[in-house]
């Protein structure tokens, strides 16, 4: 296992403003360590399974949580989630949907595919900040991930 590439958090976000705000929120809460950013679904999958640009790096480098947007270029968030949960290597990585969509359809589909949490990005930045802070607190600090299948 390549410890250099081992990250605590994979952030999948295509929108640069949202990305920046999210990173800013994480940083403000001091959760900025070992974050990897993927800008679309394909890149996220490459990183997770050590394919494409990440070939040879091995799979499953995320130790704590994947923050996943739903609407992504190339491969969307639900597809990424599905593939992760189908693959034994990535199956046990917690996935949190962080998305603008409050469509019930998306929520239901996500939970069906095995998402661990679903958070709607608030427009109000203060609410957004507190949401990111809380999820960071939980998934990065409190939650004890399974290590059995690594």
């Amino acid at each position: 296992m390549n410890e250099l590439n081992a990250v605590e958090l994979l952030l999948v976000e295509d929108n640069p403003q949202d990305l920046e705000l999210t990173l800013r929120a994480l940083r403000k809460s001091n959760f900025a360590n070992r974050i990897h950013v993927a800008r679309d679904g394909a890149e996220a999958l490459d990183f997770l399974f050590g394919e494409g640009a990440h070939a040879g790096q091995g799979a499953g480098q995320v130790s704590k949580v994947v923050l996943l947007d739903l609407k992504l270029p190339k491969i969307d968030g639900l597809e990424v989630l599905r593939r992760m949960k189908e693959d034994p290597r990535t199956k046990s990585i917690p996935v949190v949907m962080l998305t603008s969509s409050r469509e019930q359809r998306d929520v239901i589909e996500s939970y069906k595919l095995g998402v661990n949490s679903y958070i709607v990005k608030p427009v109000d930045f203060e609410s957004f900040m507190s949401a990111v802070h809380e999820l960071g607190m939980y998934w990065l600090l409190l939650n004890q991930p399974s290590k059995g299948e690594r």
């Binding site: 109000d124 930045f125 957004f128």
Partner: protein, 768 residues
């Protein structure tokens, strides 16, 4: 004889010389009697019933002359007168004149002439019917005495006085006259009895010759035997007595046997009679006999039952008793027929009962004849036919009814009758009209003549198998008319079975449903078209929905992101560079952020609103009380320093989508709380009422209220009746309420006045 006198020829005056001769007057009287008698018919109806008066006149005339002659002669003899009537026509000359009055008839002859003439007179005037036979008998006996006298050679028997004896041929002629007289008597009962086949007649016929001839013969033999000296008087008397006894014994035995035989026969006949009588008595048929005058002579039990008169009441009365007034003229006609010996058979008429009610009868009347074949009465056998008449009446009525029904049926339906072979035996006018065939073209054909080939073989097979099993078939058939056009008929075929259960005929009743079929076809086409259109519309709608979904998806996702940027980076500026910005700049940034947040709220509400339209309803029974309490709990207490009075009435349950209905309560209750912000205490009442049979829920407050003039804008999207500074809000809440309620088939409305509070009402079911 007259010639003999005129020509003085002795041999013609007397038969045997030495014996008395017939006198001229005697002969004349015989001629007159012969003439009078020969004018008459021997016996019977015609002489009695109005023959010519001259016949009667001849009887009276001749009779009077003869009687007068007899009387005059008797008077001459009795008073020794000599009226010289003996010489009236002829003078007696010669040896004959030796006697005192040679031309005078003997007293016996005169006596006979007197009696005979009287009888003739009586006959002529039709009187003394009873006396005439006795007169005739007396004449006969006197003559018979004379005959016996001649036979026995006893002078005194034919000659009362010497030289005035009855001639032998006179005696014989008297016998004939007596017989003739008797035959002319109106009362022929004795003769009839004698000639009849009845035992009395037979017996008399057997006894008469013996009793007439044998005494005479025996008397003669005895007389002659004594005269011949074979025996003396006493022996002769004994012999006569013996022979008489013997004859009488023989006769008595013969009579006994004959009567015995007759009695046996009579008893047999009686037995038969009794049987017949019993039959007559016991039969229900009425059997009456009557005379030709219409007098009832017998009356059986059936008659009693039919007419209500007992036998004792009826017998002896006249038949018209039984005939109603208006039918009295029937009886003479019937009697006339009977009199002619004809019979009246099964004559149907009406008779009257004792109680005056009428009875329909069928009568057969036959003549009753006596043994001589003469019609003496009538037997009448009557049978009550009231029941039959009633049955006939009913039959007539039901035939009429059937006729009416048939007429009505013909008016309404197409009717055809088919025999078991499928040949048409009857069609009505409507059948001809719709099929455009003439009746003669259809009769004898089978239904293939109107076959349209529209129906499958299985269909036709099913039809035939149904009706040949005796079951009614009903269905719709397409037929082809003569001109090739098609028509539809709603058809009912009713099989009628014979005694063995095989179809006797099929009656098909049809109704023209061509128009209906055409209409159905049109409807089908329209429906198909409609379905096509609906499918198209649905597809379009589905497309639109998909587009809308895609739109709202992107709105929800993409529209919010820039807003977040605006807000987030405004905040970032405040945080990172807030110290470098003047107060005014910071205020602008706050406005920017408020705008972005407001925009975010609008987008969220809008998305929620649009989702409502697409979300499927899932109705369940809803406990309204629990739903309202849960909503209030969720709303929490956004009024920490406020005095709020909640009046929560018990609510009846309803049937609705609980998630959506909760949204309604949330919006209404949050509005109520919001617009009572400036009230203390704020009063919010939740309750229900029944209006026009529908359950109405309401939320009433004592808040700001609104002007009812703008009530129509209340439920529009983004419509607000209050300023943003006074009461925040997006103007979507009531639009959502209305949409949910409408999707439930309910109604929502409000009542309010500015600063007087507002009340919102809704129902969740169609008002029915």
């Amino acid at each position: 004889m007259l010639l003999g006198w005129w020509g003085d020829i002795g041999s013609l005056r007397t038969i045997l010389p030495g014996l008395a001769s017939m006198k001229f007057n005697t002969a004349l009287c015989f001629v007159l009697a012969g003439l009078a008698l020969s004018f008459q018919q021997p016996s019977g109806a015609s002489s009695v019933a109005g023959v010519g008066g001259w016949r009667r006149a001849s009887l009276v005339g001749c009779g009077a002359i003869i009687a007068a002659m007899g009387l005059v002669n008797l008077a001459e003899h009795a008073f020794s007168w000599d009226l010289r009537i003996d010489q009236l026509f002829f003078r007696v000359a010669g040896t004959e004149a030796l006697v005192a009055f040679p031309g005078r008839m003997s007293p016996a002859t005169a006596f006979n002439f007197f009696l005979g003439g009287t009888a003739l007179c009586l006959l002529g005037v039709r009187r003394g019917g009873r006396v005439i036979p006795w007169l005739a008998l007396t004449v006969g006996l006197v003559a018979f005495l004379a005959v016996i006298g001649y036979l026995y050679g006893v002078h005194s028997l034919y000659a009362i006085q010497p030289f005035s004896s009855m001639a032998a041929h006179t005696a014989v002629l008297f016998l004939l006259v007596a017989a003739g007289l008797y035959l002319l008597c109106p009362d022929q009962t004795l003769l009839e009895m004698l000639l009849s086949g009845r035992p009395a007649g037979v017996l008399a016929r057997h006894l008469l010759p013996t009793s007439l001839i044998m005494p005479v013969v025996f008397g003669w033999l005895r007389l002659k035997g004594q005269e011949a000296g074979w025996y003396d008087l006493s022996f002769g008397v004994a012999l006569l007595t013996l022979s008489s006894v013997t004859i009488f014994l023989v006769l008595v035995v013969g009579c006994m046997r004959m009567i015995e035989r007759a009695d046996i026969e009579r008893r047999k006949a009686e037995q038969i009679n009794r049987q017949f009588a019993a039959i007559v008595a016991s039969t229900d048929d009425t059997i009456i006999s009557k005379t030709l005058d219409g007098v009832i002579t017998s009356w059986n039990f059936g008659a009693e039952k039919m007419f209500g008169y007992s036998a004792s009441e009826a017998v002896g009365h006249r038949i018209p008793l039984l005939i109603p007034e208006d039918r009295r003229d029937e009886e003479p006609m019937i009697i006339e027929k009977i009199r002619r010996g004809e019979r009246v058979s099964h004559y149907e008429t009406v008779r009257q009962r004792k109680d005056g009610s009428l009875v329909d009868v069928s009568v057969t009347i036959s003549p009753i004849r006596n043994s001589a074949g003469k019609v003496v009465g009538a037997s009448k056998i009557a049978r009550e036919i009231t029941d039959r008449k009633m049955a006939e009446g009913k039959l007539k009525a039901s035939l009429k009814e059937i006729g009416d029904l048939k007429a009505a049926l013909d008016e309404h339906a197409i009717v055809a009758i088919t025999n078991p072979q499928g040949r048409i035996t009857y069609v009505n006018d409507k059948f001809c009209a719709i099929s455009k065939y003439g009746r003669e073209e259809l009769l004898g054909q089978d239904h293939r003549i109107i076959n349209s080939s529209h129906h499958s073989k299985a269909f036709i097979r099913d039809l035939w198998s149904t009706i040949t099993r005796g079951r009614v078939w009903h269905g719709e058939i397409k037929n082809k008319a003569k001109d090739g056009s098609f028509y539809w008929v709603d058809t009912t075929i009713v099989p009628f079975l014979d005694d063995t259960g095989k179809p006797r005929q099929y009656v098909a009743i049809r109704a023209d449903i061509t128009e209906r079929k055409r209409a159905e076809e049109t409807v089908r086409e329209l429906n198909a078209e409609l379905e096509q259109r609906v499918a198209e519309r649905t597809a379009q709608l589905a497309d639109a929905n998909r587009e809308l979904e895609a739109f709202s998806y992107s709105v929800s996702h993409d529209l919010r992101a820039p807003l977040r940027s605006v807000d987030g980076f405004s905040q970032a500026v405040m945080e990172d560079f807030g110290s470098q910005l003047p107060e005014e700049g910071q205020r602008y940034l706050r406005i920017i952020r408020l705008g972005a947040q407001k925009m975010g709220a609008l987008v969220d509400d809008l998305l929620a609103f649009s989702r409502l339209g697409r979300q499927a309803l899932s109705k369940h029974p809803v406990d309204m009380n629990r739903l309202v309490r849960a909503t209030l709990e969720e709303l929490g207490s956004p009024w920490p320093d406020r005095l709020v009075e909640l009046r929560l009435n018990d609510l009846p349950p309803g049937r609705a989508d609980p998630v959506l209905l909760k949204q309604v309560w949330t919006n209404l209750l949050s509005n109520a709380l919001k617009y009572t912000r400036n009230r203390s205490p704020a009063v919010v009442e939740i309750g229900h009422k029944t209006e026009k049979g529908a359950m109405v829920y309401y939320v009433r407050d004592n808040g700001a209220g609104f002007d009812m003039r703008y009530a129509d804008k209340l439920f529009g999207v983004f419509q607000r009746l209050h300023r943003m500074e006074d009461y925040e809000g997006t103007g979507v809440g009531l639009a959502i309420v209305q949409r949910v309620i409408h999707r439930h088939g309910g109604r929502v409305w409000a009542e309010a006045a500015p600063e007087q509070g507002a009340a919102f009402y809704f129902t969740i079911e169609n008002q029915s």
